[in-house]
Symmetry: C2
Subunit: 292 residues, 2 copies
DNA sequence: CTGAAAGCGCTTACAG
DNA sequence: CTGAAAGCGCTTACAG
């Protein structure tokens, strides 16, 4: 009556563990947590439990993961992949172990994946700035070895190109994907003979760094400088001024990714294995018509 | 060479699974995520993996959990316990299964637990308001069947008592622990013949609701009304005005709780089994000297 | 000290 | 259709 089957025994005899894993680089980023929330809530309607793997300490490298995971701890894995750490997972994937990549559809064409329209999002953001009369638009990017940063840069180039403008080298800064990187970018741009009138930042944290650095130099946002971010973190709406940004549907990314993974784990052919979700431009207070 | 032992087989033969679980009511609350971050990062330095259980859908009730978990999925469990759902865990605990409660040391005296100085935090917040000259101080509480809300209320009473003041019934409102509850409390208080000049809210979300409702009525914060919250959510520092609040060390709660759990799981006698962490009053912009 | 066997608690293919 | 047996991949107590 109060019988509870032993999961380890079931796992051993059936060759399935009833666990599904998610591997994240860190839990310190708000958007990672939103993805996990999407995963966890969708998972509740499935018989699988969720194992949370983190890689924030360097010791747990890809080999360790390849082992732990390929060894049969989980039946399938969601991966937010840091660049250059794909080999172990490629191997797992080849042996038929279900792996779904989140937000990295570029590098590993053989993997099922869920990502967002990075290029189109950046395109929309840039169009918004162009529509407001801005011509000198700079890009405060994160590291360009991340595929999605490349895609966002392409989106900016595309919009500028359609307007007959080129993106000059001095108006692109690739640095850390956080406030410090934004500060560095702002400093570089503001030292230019002709500083930009608007900045597209590859994520919201960079935007906040730009805003802080601009404020320090006495620049008023958006009057003196328009800023668009990317992500729509919870802080974006609360910042002063509230940040215009490209929203990523983090929760839906997580939800979609588990659904795809569960299909693979249970042997159902998924309807699509490379899914791209729409971003959305959220216009708030940090952008305005160019007045000078 | 590339041998990877099978966790299910190890688990079956050794009677240990190498997994440790955390059961949370929801992932929608920022502070829950901070606790998880503390747990996950501390866990990295251990051989255990982390299973994330959520109860946000009502279907997964305590019995289901008692079964899944007692059945041997994990070697130990961290529990953020909703009130009145303790029975299954009490049972597990009695049978020697390691369970550590987070933030609920009141109800279940037999459990190891990690909590914060709720009463003292509220005491400090209230003292701060008294020091600013406030005499009519109201409490916008969450549900009083949560032990920590009771403790916070006691802290307020204690500070008022020391100042020779009593907390009158009409100055206590217990409602939902969110913005809506804060709005309702504000409405109740502002309709009073003698409205309060300061409000202690049992959490930050309630504070935000109070602030919004006050703003709607044309009250300026802190000039017309001082507000203190509890939690120090990320939004607290970004709110307008920035919220004075009692900080809970969420990250450290998580970290401390896993350490305690790992001690129990590995049979080490923990140094302390009922741990209370210090809160800290963070004074920002939402409180000021009473001027009328 | 080494190595073969039993056992952990299930599932499933198979004999009756 | 029912029930006893084999097997999943380890660990560990035990025989040699």
């Amino acid at each position: 009556m109060r019988y509870v089957p032993n999961p380890a025994a079931i796992g051993l005899s059936r060759g399935k563990t009833g666990l599904v894993g998610i591997l994240v680089p860190t839990l310190a980023w708000a958007w990672v947590l939103e993805v996990i929330r999407g995963v966890a809530e969708r998972r509740e309607r499935s018989p699988y439990e969720l194992v949370l793997f983190t890689t924030s300490s360097q010791e747990r490298n890809e080999e360790l993961f390849g082992r732990t995971l390929a060894g049969g701890l989980t039946d399938g894995l969601l991966v937010m992949l840091p660049p250059g750490t794909a080999e172990a997972f490629t191997d797992m994937q080849r042996r038929g172990f279900p792996v779904v990549l989140i937000d990295d559809r570029g590098y590993h064409l053989e993997f099922p994946s869920v990502s967002v329209t990075n290029q189109h999002g950046a395109y929309q953001a840039t169009r918004h700035l162009l529509d407001l009369g801005h011509q000198r638009i700079a890009v405060a990017s994160g590291p360009l070895d991340y595929r999605y940063n490349q895609e966002r840069l392409h989106g900016v180039r595309q919009a500028l190109g359609e307007a007959g403008l080129a993106l000059r080298d001095e108006l692109v800064h690739a640095g850390e994907p956080n406030e410090a990187g934004g500060g560095a970018a702002a400093q570089a741009f503001m030292g230019l003979p002709e500083p930009p009138t608007a900045i597209f930042a590859a994520n919201d944290l960079i935007s906040f760094g730009v805003m802080a650095a601009a404020a320090e130099r006495g620049l008023r946002i958006p009057r003196d400088l328009s800023i668009v971010g990317f992500d729509d973190l919870p802080q974006a709406a609360l910042a002063r001024p509230a940040l215009t940004t490209v929203r990523q549907p983090m929760y839906r990314i997580g939800l979609t990714a588990v659904e795809l993974l569960l299909d693979l784990v249970e042997g159902r052919p998924p309807s699509r294995s490379r899914i791209e979700l729409e971003t959305e431009l959220v216009i708030r207070e940090s952008t305005m018509r160019r007045e000078f």
